[in-house]
Amino acid sequence: MYYLQIAAGLALLISFIANREKTLKAVKISLKRFWAILPAFLSMLVLVSIVLFLIPDTLITEYLGSGGKLTGVIIASFLGSITMMPGFIAFPLCGVLLEKGVLYMVLSAFTTTLMMVGILTFPIEKAYFGPKVTILRNVLSFFVALIVAVMTGIFFGEIL
Protein backbone atom coordinates (compact mmCIF):
# COMPACT_ATOMS: atom_id res chain seq x y z
CA MET A 1 0.00 0.00 0.00
CA TYR A 2 2.68 2.47 1.02
CA TYR A 3 5.44 1.11 -1.15
CA LEU A 4 6.21 4.45 -2.78
CA GLN A 5 6.62 6.10 0.63
CA ILE A 6 8.80 3.23 1.85
CA ALA A 7 10.90 3.28 -1.31
CA ALA A 8 11.40 7.04 -1.12
CA GLY A 9 12.27 6.90 2.56
CA LEU A 10 14.76 4.07 2.12
CA ALA A 11 16.35 5.67 -0.93
CA LEU A 12 16.75 8.94 0.92
CA LEU A 13 18.30 7.20 3.92
CA ILE A 14 20.75 5.17 1.85
CA SER A 15 21.66 8.23 -0.18
CA PHE A 16 22.24 10.23 3.00
CA ILE A 17 24.55 7.58 4.41
CA ALA A 18 26.43 7.33 1.13
CA ASN A 19 26.86 11.04 0.51
CA ARG A 20 25.41 13.89 2.54
CA GLU A 21 26.19 16.66 0.08
CA LYS A 22 24.67 14.88 -2.88
CA THR A 23 21.57 14.09 -0.85
CA LEU A 24 21.17 17.69 0.18
CA LYS A 25 21.49 18.69 -3.44
CA ALA A 26 18.84 16.11 -4.39
CA VAL A 27 16.41 17.47 -1.82
CA LYS A 28 17.01 20.97 -3.13
CA ILE A 29 16.24 19.80 -6.66
CA SER A 30 13.08 18.05 -5.41
CA LEU A 31 11.85 21.21 -3.72
CA LYS A 32 12.66 23.39 -6.71
CA ARG A 33 10.87 21.10 -9.14
CA PHE A 34 7.89 20.71 -6.86
CA TRP A 35 7.60 24.45 -6.38
CA ALA A 36 7.79 25.04 -10.11
CA ILE A 37 4.90 22.73 -10.92
CA LEU A 38 2.70 23.63 -7.94
CA PRO A 39 0.54 26.25 -9.76
CA ALA A 40 -0.26 23.70 -12.48
CA PHE A 41 -1.21 21.17 -9.81
CA LEU A 42 -3.55 23.67 -8.20
CA SER A 43 -5.25 24.32 -11.54
CA MET A 44 -5.68 20.59 -12.01
CA LEU A 45 -7.15 20.11 -8.54
CA VAL A 46 -9.66 22.88 -9.12
CA LEU A 47 -10.65 21.38 -12.46
CA VAL A 48 -10.95 17.88 -11.00
CA SER A 49 -13.08 19.00 -8.07
CA ILE A 50 -15.56 20.74 -10.37
CA VAL A 51 -15.77 18.07 -13.07
CA LEU A 52 -16.18 15.23 -10.57
CA PHE A 53 -19.06 17.15 -9.05
CA LEU A 54 -20.72 17.62 -12.44
CA ILE A 55 -20.14 14.00 -13.52
CA PRO A 56 -20.64 11.70 -10.52
CA ASP A 57 -20.11 7.91 -10.69
CA THR A 58 -23.85 7.29 -10.76
CA LEU A 59 -24.16 9.29 -13.97
CA ILE A 60 -21.30 7.33 -15.56
CA THR A 61 -22.93 4.02 -14.63
CA GLU A 62 -26.19 5.18 -16.12
CA TYR A 63 -24.69 6.34 -19.42
CA LEU A 64 -22.41 3.34 -19.94
CA GLY A 65 -25.37 1.03 -19.60
CA SER A 66 -27.40 2.77 -22.27
CA GLY A 67 -27.08 2.96 -26.03
CA GLY A 68 -26.12 0.53 -28.77
CA LYS A 69 -22.70 -0.70 -29.84
CA LEU A 70 -21.41 2.34 -31.70
CA THR A 71 -23.07 4.98 -29.52
CA GLY A 72 -22.01 3.01 -26.45
CA VAL A 73 -18.34 3.08 -27.46
CA ILE A 74 -18.49 6.77 -28.34
CA ILE A 75 -20.20 7.75 -25.07
CA ALA A 76 -17.81 5.54 -23.09
CA SER A 77 -14.69 6.99 -24.68
CA PHE A 78 -16.01 10.50 -24.20
CA LEU A 79 -16.73 9.87 -20.50
CA GLY A 80 -13.39 8.16 -20.01
CA SER A 81 -11.59 11.14 -21.50
CA ILE A 82 -13.22 13.88 -19.47
CA THR A 83 -13.26 12.22 -16.08
CA MET A 84 -10.68 10.85 -13.68
CA MET A 85 -11.05 7.81 -11.49
CA PRO A 86 -8.54 5.58 -9.74
CA GLY A 87 -8.33 1.97 -10.93
CA PHE A 88 -9.62 0.57 -7.66
CA ILE A 89 -12.93 2.34 -8.29
CA ALA A 90 -13.10 2.05 -12.07
CA PHE A 91 -12.58 -1.72 -12.39
CA PRO A 92 -15.11 -2.87 -9.77
CA LEU A 93 -17.57 -0.48 -11.41
CA CYS A 94 -16.88 -2.14 -14.77
CA GLY A 95 -17.27 -5.56 -13.17
CA VAL A 96 -20.78 -4.60 -12.04
CA LEU A 97 -21.62 -3.19 -15.48
CA LEU A 98 -20.38 -6.36 -17.15
CA GLU A 99 -22.84 -8.42 -15.09
CA LYS A 100 -25.57 -6.05 -16.16
CA GLY A 101 -24.80 -6.95 -19.78
CA VAL A 102 -22.70 -3.99 -20.89
CA LEU A 103 -20.42 -5.00 -23.78
CA TYR A 104 -16.72 -5.64 -23.29
CA MET A 105 -15.87 -3.15 -26.02
CA VAL A 106 -17.78 -0.39 -24.26
CA LEU A 107 -15.95 -1.11 -21.01
CA SER A 108 -12.68 -1.23 -22.91
CA ALA A 109 -13.35 2.17 -24.49
CA PHE A 110 -14.15 3.57 -21.06
CA THR A 111 -11.21 2.14 -19.11
CA THR A 112 -8.63 2.75 -21.84
CA THR A 113 -9.57 6.39 -22.39
CA LEU A 114 -9.78 6.81 -18.63
CA MET A 115 -6.16 5.75 -18.36
CA MET A 116 -4.72 7.24 -21.55
CA VAL A 117 -6.60 10.45 -22.27
CA GLY A 118 -6.37 13.13 -19.63
CA ILE A 119 -8.34 16.29 -20.20
CA LEU A 120 -8.26 17.06 -16.48
CA THR A 121 -4.49 16.66 -16.30
CA PHE A 122 -4.08 19.14 -19.17
CA PRO A 123 -2.75 21.96 -16.91
CA ILE A 124 0.11 19.75 -15.70
CA GLU A 125 0.94 18.08 -18.97
CA LYS A 126 0.93 21.48 -20.68
CA ALA A 127 3.48 22.80 -18.18
CA TYR A 128 5.96 20.14 -19.29
CA PHE A 129 5.09 19.42 -22.92
CA GLY A 130 3.50 22.69 -24.03
CA PRO A 131 -0.11 22.96 -25.26
CA LYS A 132 0.47 21.79 -28.83
CA VAL A 133 2.22 18.54 -27.95
CA THR A 134 -0.19 17.86 -25.10
CA ILE A 135 -3.17 18.09 -27.42
CA LEU A 136 -1.44 16.04 -30.12
CA ARG A 137 -0.46 13.32 -27.65
CA ASN A 138 -3.93 13.07 -26.16
CA VAL A 139 -5.62 12.95 -29.56
CA LEU A 140 -3.26 10.13 -30.60
CA SER A 141 -4.01 8.33 -27.32
CA PHE A 142 -7.73 8.70 -27.97
CA PHE A 143 -7.41 6.92 -31.31
CA VAL A 144 -5.26 4.20 -29.78
CA ALA A 145 -8.01 3.65 -27.19
CA LEU A 146 -10.64 3.44 -29.93
CA ILE A 147 -8.61 0.81 -31.79
CA VAL A 148 -8.19 -1.15 -28.55
CA ALA A 149 -11.97 -1.01 -28.02
CA VAL A 150 -12.71 -2.22 -31.55
CA MET A 151 -10.20 -5.08 -31.23
CA THR A 152 -11.75 -6.03 -27.91
CA GLY A 153 -15.13 -6.12 -29.65
CA ILE A 154 -13.77 -8.34 -32.40
CA PHE A 155 -12.10 -10.81 -30.05
CA PHE A 156 -15.15 -11.09 -27.83
CA GLY A 157 -17.38 -11.62 -30.87
CA GLU A 158 -19.35 -8.46 -30.23
CA ILE A 159 -18.87 -7.08 -33.72
CA LEU A 160 -18.76 -8.89 -37.08
Binding site: L4, Q5, A7, A8, G9, A11, L12, S15, T23, K25, A26, V27, K28, I29, S30, L31, R33, F34, A36, I37, P39, A40, F41, L42, S43, L45, V46, V48, S49, I50, L52, F53, P86, G87, F88, F91, C94, G95, L98, Y104, S108, T111, T112, M115, M116, I124, E125, K126, A127, Y128, F129, G130, P131, V133, R137, S141, V144, V148, T152, F156
Partner: protein, 179 residues
Amino acid sequence: MKPRNIIRTAGLSCYFIFIVLSFALGFSPGKAIGYNLFSFSLDMLKVLPCAFILIGLFEVWVKRETVEKHFGEEAGIKGYMWAVLLAGTIVGPLYVALPLAYSLHRKGARLAVIFTYIGASAICRIPMAIFEVSFLGLKFTAIRFLVSIPLVILSSKILGEYLAKGGYQISDGTQVTTE
Protein backbone atom coordinates in the same frame (compact mmCIF):
# COMPACT_ATOMS: atom_id res chain seq x y z
CA MET B 1 3.52 39.29 -12.87
CA LYS B 2 2.83 38.01 -16.36
CA PRO B 3 -0.74 38.41 -17.71
CA ARG B 4 -1.36 34.65 -17.70
CA ASN B 5 -0.27 34.43 -14.05
CA ILE B 6 -2.66 37.24 -13.14
CA ILE B 7 -5.52 35.39 -14.81
CA ARG B 8 -4.60 32.19 -13.00
CA THR B 9 -4.32 33.92 -9.62
CA ALA B 10 -7.63 35.69 -10.15
CA GLY B 11 -9.33 32.44 -11.16
CA LEU B 12 -7.96 30.53 -8.20
CA SER B 13 -8.92 33.34 -5.81
CA CYS B 14 -12.52 33.34 -7.11
CA TYR B 15 -12.65 29.58 -6.75
CA PHE B 16 -11.44 29.60 -3.14
CA ILE B 17 -13.75 32.47 -2.19
CA PHE B 18 -16.62 30.48 -3.70
CA ILE B 19 -15.68 27.39 -1.65
CA VAL B 20 -15.35 29.34 1.61
CA LEU B 21 -18.67 31.14 1.01
CA SER B 22 -20.35 27.83 0.18
CA PHE B 23 -19.31 26.39 3.52
CA ALA B 24 -20.26 29.56 5.36
CA LEU B 25 -23.70 29.77 3.77
CA GLY B 26 -24.36 26.04 3.45
CA PHE B 27 -24.51 25.96 -0.36
CA SER B 28 -24.37 22.21 -0.94
CA PRO B 29 -22.96 22.02 -4.53
CA GLY B 30 -20.11 24.31 -3.44
CA LYS B 31 -19.53 22.16 -0.38
CA ALA B 32 -19.43 19.01 -2.51
CA ILE B 33 -16.80 20.62 -4.75
CA GLY B 34 -14.86 21.61 -1.63
CA TYR B 35 -14.90 18.02 -0.37
CA ASN B 36 -13.71 16.78 -3.77
CA LEU B 37 -10.83 19.25 -3.67
CA PHE B 38 -9.91 18.16 -0.17
CA SER B 39 -9.92 14.42 -0.87
CA PHE B 40 -7.96 14.77 -4.13
CA SER B 41 -5.41 17.09 -2.54
CA LEU B 42 -4.93 14.56 0.22
CA ASP B 43 -4.41 11.74 -2.30
CA MET B 44 -1.79 13.76 -4.13
CA LEU B 45 -0.03 14.86 -0.97
CA LYS B 46 0.50 11.19 -0.11
CA VAL B 47 2.26 10.58 -3.41
CA LEU B 48 3.88 13.80 -4.61
CA PRO B 49 6.55 14.53 -1.97
CA CYS B 50 7.87 10.95 -2.27
CA ALA B 51 7.84 11.10 -6.05
CA PHE B 52 9.75 14.37 -6.11
CA ILE B 53 12.28 13.08 -3.56
CA LEU B 54 12.93 10.10 -5.84
CA ILE B 55 13.29 12.44 -8.83
CA GLY B 56 15.79 14.56 -6.92
CA LEU B 57 17.81 11.47 -6.04
CA PHE B 58 17.59 10.30 -9.64
CA GLU B 59 19.02 13.64 -10.78
CA VAL B 60 22.10 13.46 -8.55
CA TRP B 61 22.85 9.73 -8.65
CA VAL B 62 21.98 8.47 -12.11
CA LYS B 63 24.67 9.25 -14.65
CA ARG B 64 23.87 10.82 -17.98
CA GLU B 65 25.72 7.98 -19.75
CA THR B 66 23.46 5.38 -18.12
CA VAL B 67 20.31 7.12 -19.32
CA GLU B 68 21.78 7.64 -22.80
CA LYS B 69 22.77 4.01 -23.01
CA HIS B 70 19.33 2.64 -22.11
CA PHE B 71 16.97 5.37 -23.29
CA GLY B 72 18.99 7.35 -25.82
CA GLU B 73 19.71 7.17 -29.55
CA GLU B 74 22.12 4.27 -29.21
CA ALA B 75 19.62 2.12 -27.31
CA GLY B 76 17.51 1.42 -30.41
CA ILE B 77 14.55 -0.91 -29.88
CA LYS B 78 15.77 -1.75 -26.39
CA GLY B 79 14.97 1.83 -25.38
CA TYR B 80 11.26 1.22 -25.91
CA MET B 81 11.48 -2.01 -23.95
CA TRP B 82 13.11 -0.24 -21.02
CA ALA B 83 10.49 2.49 -21.18
CA VAL B 84 7.62 -0.02 -20.96
CA LEU B 85 9.34 -1.91 -18.14
CA LEU B 86 10.04 1.26 -16.20
CA ALA B 87 6.44 2.39 -16.65
CA GLY B 88 5.01 -0.98 -15.66
CA THR B 89 6.99 -1.46 -12.52
CA ILE B 90 7.93 1.87 -11.05
CA VAL B 91 5.77 4.91 -11.10
CA GLY B 92 2.09 5.56 -11.01
CA PRO B 93 -0.12 8.31 -12.31
CA LEU B 94 0.61 10.75 -15.11
CA TYR B 95 1.41 13.60 -12.77
CA VAL B 96 4.24 11.52 -11.34
CA ALA B 97 5.43 10.23 -14.70
CA LEU B 98 5.73 13.74 -16.17
CA PRO B 99 8.42 15.15 -13.86
CA LEU B 100 10.43 11.97 -14.35
CA ALA B 101 10.01 12.34 -18.11
CA TYR B 102 11.60 15.77 -17.82
CA SER B 103 14.55 14.32 -15.86
CA LEU B 104 15.02 11.56 -18.44
CA HIS B 105 14.91 14.16 -21.21
CA ARG B 106 17.56 16.26 -19.52
CA LYS B 107 19.84 13.28 -19.20
CA GLY B 108 19.67 12.41 -22.86
CA ALA B 109 16.72 10.06 -23.35
CA ARG B 110 15.16 10.09 -26.82
CA LEU B 111 11.78 11.83 -27.20
CA ALA B 112 10.15 8.76 -28.77
CA VAL B 113 11.22 6.68 -25.77
CA ILE B 114 9.93 9.30 -23.34
CA PHE B 115 6.50 9.40 -24.99
CA THR B 116 6.45 5.61 -24.89
CA TYR B 117 7.19 5.77 -21.19
CA ILE B 118 4.38 8.28 -20.61
CA GLY B 119 1.91 6.24 -22.66
CA ALA B 120 2.91 2.96 -21.07
CA SER B 121 2.71 4.40 -17.56
CA ALA B 122 -0.97 5.02 -18.28
CA ILE B 123 -1.83 1.57 -19.61
CA CYS B 124 0.48 -1.06 -18.23
CA ARG B 125 1.02 -0.57 -14.57
CA ILE B 126 1.30 -4.08 -13.19
CA PRO B 127 -0.53 -3.59 -9.86
CA MET B 128 -3.46 -2.04 -11.69
CA ALA B 129 -3.50 -4.82 -14.28
CA ILE B 130 -3.83 -7.46 -11.58
CA PHE B 131 -6.84 -5.62 -10.30
CA GLU B 132 -8.26 -5.35 -13.80
CA VAL B 133 -7.90 -9.09 -14.43
CA SER B 134 -9.85 -9.95 -11.30
CA PHE B 135 -12.83 -7.88 -12.41
CA LEU B 136 -12.83 -8.15 -16.20
CA GLY B 137 -10.91 -11.35 -16.89
CA LEU B 138 -7.49 -12.17 -18.26
CA LYS B 139 -8.63 -12.14 -21.89
CA PHE B 140 -9.79 -8.53 -21.62
CA THR B 141 -6.51 -7.35 -20.11
CA ALA B 142 -4.40 -9.42 -22.50
CA ILE B 143 -6.12 -7.89 -25.54
CA ARG B 144 -5.66 -4.42 -24.12
CA PHE B 145 -1.96 -4.95 -23.48
CA LEU B 146 -1.19 -6.66 -26.78
CA VAL B 147 -3.03 -4.08 -28.87
CA SER B 148 -2.16 -0.92 -27.00
CA ILE B 149 1.57 -1.36 -26.34
CA PRO B 150 2.61 -1.64 -30.02
CA LEU B 151 0.31 1.26 -30.87
CA VAL B 152 1.75 3.39 -28.08
CA ILE B 153 5.27 2.65 -29.27
CA LEU B 154 4.36 3.41 -32.88
CA SER B 155 2.57 6.67 -32.12
CA SER B 156 5.36 7.74 -29.75
CA LYS B 157 7.94 7.01 -32.43
CA ILE B 158 6.09 9.12 -34.98
CA LEU B 159 5.48 11.97 -32.55
CA GLY B 160 8.99 11.83 -31.07
CA GLU B 161 10.81 11.79 -34.37
CA TYR B 162 8.64 14.53 -35.80
CA LEU B 163 9.31 16.77 -32.78
CA ALA B 164 13.01 15.92 -32.56
CA LYS B 165 13.46 17.36 -36.05
CA GLY B 166 12.16 20.72 -34.87
CA GLY B 167 14.48 20.78 -31.85
CA TYR B 168 11.59 20.38 -29.40
CA GLN B 169 12.46 20.56 -25.68
CA ILE B 170 10.45 19.40 -22.67
CA SER B 171 10.04 22.21 -20.15
CA ASP B 172 10.79 22.00 -16.41
CA GLY B 173 7.25 23.05 -15.67
CA THR B 174 7.91 26.74 -15.11
CA GLN B 175 7.45 27.92 -18.65
CA VAL B 176 5.77 26.81 -21.81
CA THR B 177 8.06 25.81 -24.63
CA THR B 178 5.78 25.85 -27.64
CA GLU B 179 2.94 28.27 -28.02
